[in-house]
């Protein structure tokens, strides 16, 4: 389809962020090289331009960081909650002050559109620190008994899809409850965590309370299995989550795991089609579908299938894919060549298994990692694209006739993170929501997040909740 509108380029200026040519690990309040001197490059996925070279943590560095966190734990946990709160409030404020810089940085390192980092990621990051800052001196009233104690050193491993937001989800509750942390960002998106280290410096946070180790899976594994780590928090793939669960078996380590998903977005025949279509688009194309709670399975009632699909394809044809720094961009770059290869392979499998592929007609830039918004129709529950998490801008469309069938199909997955319901009938929303085995159910909306609202999965989507009063439990000895 020819573009109905032409837009002039409207790029956000990247001069607001100053990326150094190299970064070290942040241990005990200092930037330091890896013990073995190893480094790796981080690239901008939309251009493949090398942004910086960062230290690659090894086992020895993990040990150093855990020791620093352990040393800091005594003083930090003994601080009055009201003092810890003020440090967190400072951090929240500095994030707000530097939010444009951080948004541009995140867009450069991750590839997601500036519209999303500016309007979703960064406001949520600041809000998360504000929210948990307020809990630090109110833990006696949180419902976990009087004077609940922190666990100690938290080892936290986060993914690349929402680098700074996942950092906030991990660090804010950990610090509010009096723990100290060692956090490992993903190898493809290390920069915003390193900038956060600078924010800790500006906030005057005592050294060793937050330690940042950039590196690969080996560093994450060493961190999780370190004997002096008391708490493990991981967001990432279900396969790694299971490996972590095995690794910590028989120890006293407390764990929260936020893993994969294959969320069903259920559209009933009475749903307002235009609103549902917007919700479907938000559900699977937000952040290029690289979202664990994405609505990656569309379950549409048979009688409105054609109408919804027609409207959906028309809407997808208007999405603008391209420069993530452009304020008009809807679809940015896929985070890495590796992820792009995974998405492409699964889509090929979908075609080979007989599902019908449709991709939005858009031009892909020649450099960088890109994938056009894609949907599959004629999908059955046996198809790989209906079962496996693709973690990309690919929607599988299935149909149903009755609410019971919709629920049965929605629950027919080893995952249980999210689901969506689109209908005008209130009692149907409540009945269906009640039967869905998923931790978050969005009715007549999708992909909404808030620091006060607990988030986490059923079944193999992990355990524990992040956000809200519930999120405190993961970091308290209760």
């Amino acid at each position: 389809m020819a573009s109905a509108f032409d837009y002039a380029p409207a790029p956000e200026s990247r001069s607001v962020v100053d990326i150094a040519p190299s970064y070290g690990l942040f241990i005990d309040g200092e930037f330091t090289e890896a013990a073995d001197g190893k480094v790796f490059k981080t690239v901008s996925p939309s251009t493949e331009e090398v942004l910086s070279e960062v230290a690659r943590a090894g086992t020895e560095d993990v040990d150093r960081a855990v020791k620093a966190a352990r040393k800091a734990f005594g003083t930090w946990s003994a601080l009055p909650g009201s003092e810890r709160a003020k440090y967190l409030f400072r951090i929240a404020r500095i994030i707000q002050e530097r939010s444009r810089e951080l948004a541009v940085l995140e867009t450069l390192d991750n590839g997601k559109p500036i519209r999303e980092t500016r309007d979703a990621d960064l406001p949520l990051v600041a809000a998360h620190f504000f929210y948990y800052a307020g809990w630090a001196d109110k833990l006696d009233h949180a419902g976990y008994g009087a004077n609940p104690r922190p666990l100690g050193v938290a080892g936290q491993v986060i993914p690349w899809n929402f680098p700074l937001l996942m950092l906030a989800w991990k660090i804010a509750p950990a610090l509010a409850t009096g723990n100290t942390v060692v956090l490992k960002p993903a190898e493809t998106t290390p920069l915003s965590a390193l900038f956060f280290a600078d924010i800790c410096r500006q906030a005057g946070l005592p050294k060793g309370v937050v330690n940042i180790l950039t590196g690969y899976g080996d560093a994450g594994e060493a961190l999780v299995s370190h004997p002096d780590v008391n708490k493990v928090a991981f967001t990432g793939s279900t396969a790694v989550g299971k490996a972590i669960a095995r690794q910590i078996a028989g120890t006293d380590k407390k764990a929260t795991l936020e893993l994969g998903g294959k969320g069903a977005n259920i559209v009933f025949d009475d749903a307002p089609v235009d609103q549902a279509v917007e919700g479907i688009v938000t559900g699977i194309f937000f952040n290029q579908g690289q979202v664990c709670c994405a609505g990656s399975r569309l379950l549409v009632q048979e009688s409105v299938h054609d109408e919804v699909l027609h409207a959906l394809k028309r809407r997808l044809s208007t999405l603008r894919l391209g420069d993530p720094l452009d304020k008009n961009t809807d679809i940015g770059a896929i985070n890495s060549a590796e992820q792009l290869a995974r998405i492409s392979a699964l889509v090929e499998t979908g075609e080979a298994e007989g599902a019908e592929r449709w991709s939005a007609p858009c031009e892909l830039p020649s450099a960088g990692y890109w994938f056009a918004p894609t949907l599959f129709t004629g999908v059955t529950q046996a198809h790989t694209v209906a079962r496996d998490e693709i973690f990309g801008p690919v929607l599988s469309v299935l149909t149903f006739r009755t609410p019971d069938e919709a629920v049965a199909k929605a629950n027919n997955t080893q995952y249980g993170l999210s689901a969506g319901i689109w209908t005008e009938k209130g009692s149907r929303i409540l009945a269906v929501a009640n039967k869905l085995r998923a931790g978050v159910v969005w009715a007549n909306t999708f992909n909404k997040f808030d620091p006060t609202s607990p988030f986490g999965g059923y079944k193999e989507s992990g355990f524990g909740r992040e956000g809200g009063r519930h999120g405190l439990e993961a970091y308290l000895d209760v």
Binding site: G250, G279, V440, T445, D450, S453, K459, E460
Partner: protein
Amino acid sequence: MSDGRLSVFKTYKLYVGGKFPRSESGRVYEVTDSKGKWLANAPQSSRKDARDAVVASRKAFGGWSGATAYNRGQILYRVAEMLEGRREQFAREVADAEGLSKSKAAAVVDAAVDRWVWYAGWTDKIGQVVGGANPVAGPFFNLSTPEPTGVVAVLAPQDSSFLGLVSVIAPVIATGNTAIVIASARAPLPALSLGEVLATSDLPGGVVNILSGKTAELAAPLASHQDVNAIDLTGADAGLAKELEIAAADNLKRTLRPQAVDTGDWSADPGTRRLTAFLETKTVWHPTGALGASGSSY
């Protein structure tokens, strides 16, 4: 055997799916009292019995989790009522099983009855204590509610054959989960008799399934079973607990590790820990919209 009358022995059987089967394996093992005196031949359940119990538990889950909390509370209270009427039988069995004096065994049974009453009252309160409305920064209704995790394998404590047993079963089913319980291997008789009480308490068949036998032999297939959602390792020693936790990771079962308090005093206030261990939090969002000229907004 008083008055010279020859007493009638009871054949102890499993409790699975609301029925009282023998082990499909046909095996039994000898159960003795603390002094080594023969008490009964208990069924030595097999892996197949464990798998059958999973099927029964799963079948019962929809109805039990869908029952109102009030209804579940009524039924748990009914269990207490039924037990109250059989206190003497259980006091005798507990005295034999644990080598307690008559009065101490009676006190244990009384505490177990009271524990059912405690959890009966929790069924319709835990949702308000651990759930609630979340004040999100936007025009959305946002509510978190606890829901049962699903089918829970429970390794009952080895020492406390009855109060400990009740203390691990009641919190699991109070919130709508269904349970497969592995009784104390050495002292399974109070558990097997509890099945008879549950069967006459309006508890739907399959909500609680009770197996006797070797703990490790039964726990292994349950820990690795893909249709079991959670496992309570209370009755496992450290080595077995680790092994089972590794197996349980395969489908990310919620795992309650053995706690130091479990080997201590079961008469202490149990708190809510065992209730919340087998709950999931579901959060539902809906736009609140706006009234006015523009109509509803999504």
